[in-house]
Chain length 300, copies 2
DNA sequence: ACATCCATGAAGCAAAGCTACATCGACAGC
DNA sequence: GCTGTCGATGTAGCTTTGCTTCATGGATGT
């Protein structure tokens, strides 16, 4: 029973298919398929079953994939065990963040980590639909993800979650607008407005509809844009209002952020890591810096 | 960092050398040496150091070997995970016992296990010095070992210990002797006797000297014999007395076993298994039967 | 019905890992 | 002190494993 094959099985589950798993493992689909074949032979029970043109793990396969995570963790502990004797942690950590978090966190993270020396951080920006964040941990060591603040995390059982920041969502209004002078806005104040929202399925998309529930009227969404800088430009030009996170937006001079009263609107920013990569000392150090940085931002 | 290499490192530690480890792994010493070389390269720190013409693990190597055990356990859990879906446990389990335990336990164990069906038990009898028992777990799945009852187990951290039986040590006297009629014997009764003991370093060798301490005189050992059947023959022929375990000896018609009063003399029989081996369902089943059988013997 | 996508099988090739043999250092005996 | 032996470690060569490339089959959607 090969460790690489177990890792492959785990990747097939998290990526949802042979081809996708092959991509993150830097292999051909054929190699993945062959590994699954020998693993199935070893196990003595079918681990996968075809469904449509794709495939899915059987209960046995699922149990084995769970066990594969533990094996990966144990192996990583082994590496860490002697790395502890080899001196200060060193190496390269791949960090991914969605755009606004990247804007907010990555510069400071790079500064902080560079100050410790010996650690290279490879950054990437990846913003995906909410359900797709955990799978990114196959590509990156640390994945900065976001979700509606009050709801259940819903990241699934196969990732370690490190909370970074709870960010209130404010109403972005044009700087010249009468609303911009207010200290806070009630839901009723913005009931009939045009809205600029994020794409369906993406994090905090549902928060706007929740605000609508508070006023009794469904908000009228006129645009769906994911990049907050683009959203700010649209708001400044008077094309509508938007809900924007307080700390990771607001650079635009034509936009004012006004707190929303009476509704708990916020997003939670989490760092996601695979249980085995969490065992790596370098990764732990980078996470530590990330948490410290987030705490600093929160305080102002 | 290869799992086979980790397993090899663990074997080198438990066997105390490259050649011995190679033997239990069914490899050549050269292969073991090469595996250690690549493992050391991966680890980045020396894992072994030469001492005399042998070698010893460095602290880093020791830590890594500990981690290797966890890896092996995780891997075995993975196998078990899907074996649970494959139906009733099946396979072959290698059981080793020292002679008297083999005589006492193995026939009943084979009967019990055969009744469940599907499991093959391969028996062996190995009696070694006390410190050498744990290393036998590299050769056998279950090792039945013994030790002085009241003392610290002292089997080391790398084996699971399953207690089977506490066996009082009785005084074996010739059937015709006046002592044979007694219900119990005080240490003073046997103070000046000739004794037949086991070889130095073997389990329960020290118990006799402890009895001597109770009388204030060192017992006079005239023979050192490990096999209890031979001991019984010598006792029957009047060559001396001996301390023999109550349940696993006593077949000889010319020998009577008389309880010893005033001194806690006994031996503890344990089953030793490697932590990873203990994860195998078949092994668990065999152990279960072994425990049940021991309980039955204890009750009579 | 056709084109597409995904998983899987067969053939060939590169690399990893083992065995056999030789070498080197350390210890015990003469 | 020299020699024989034992244990660990290199070297050469072969076997085996595991990958890629290419081809096939089944399922889906247009």
């Amino acid at each position: 029973m090969d460790v690489r094959a177990l890792e492959t099985l785990r990747a097939v589950r998290s990526q949802g298919g042979v081809t996708a798993a092959a991509a993150v493992l830097h292999l051909t689909p054929s190699a993945v398929s062959q590994q699954l074949a020998v693993l199935t032979r070893d196990a003595g029970v079918p681990l996968t079953e075809r469904v449509g043109r794709g495939l899915r793990l059987t209960p046995a396969g699922d149990a084995l994939a769970d066990a594969a995570v533990d094996v990966a963790v144990a192996l990583e502990r082994a590496r860490t065990a002697c790395a502890a004797f080899a001196g200060a942690p060193t190496g390269t950590v791949r960090v991914s963040a969605f755009q606004s978090a990247a804007w907010m966190l990555l510069p400071g993270l790079l500064t902080r980590v560079a100050a410790r020396g010996g650690i290279t951080v490879e950054c990437a920006d990846e913003d995906v639909a909410q359900h797709a964040f955990p799978a990114l941990t196959d590509r990156h060591d640390v994945v900065v993800a976001h979700r509606p603040a009050e709801a259940d995390p819903g990241w699934g059982p196969d990732v370690h979650v490190v909370p970074l920041l709870r960010e209130p969502l404010d109403v972005a209004v044009p700087a010249g607008s009468p609303l911009a002078a207010r200290a806070a806005l009630e839901p009723a104040d913005v009931a009939g407005a045009d809205w600029i929202a994020v794409r369906e399925g993406f994090p905090v998309a549902r928060v706007l509809t929740d605000v609508g529930v508070a006023t009794g009227t469904a908000p009228r969404v006129v645009q769906r844009i994911n990049d907050f800088h683009v959203v700010e430009a649209l708001v400044a030009a008077g094309h509508g209002l938007s809900l924007l996170p307080r700390y990771s937006s607001g650079g635009h001079p034509g936009v004012a952020l006004v707190p929303l009263a009476g509704v708990r609107a916020g997003r939670q920013v989490d760092a996601l890591v695979r249980p085995d990569t969490a065992e790596r000392r370098v990764v732990a150090v980078v996470l530590e810096e990330l948490v410290a940085l987030a705490a600093e931002l929160r305080r102002g």
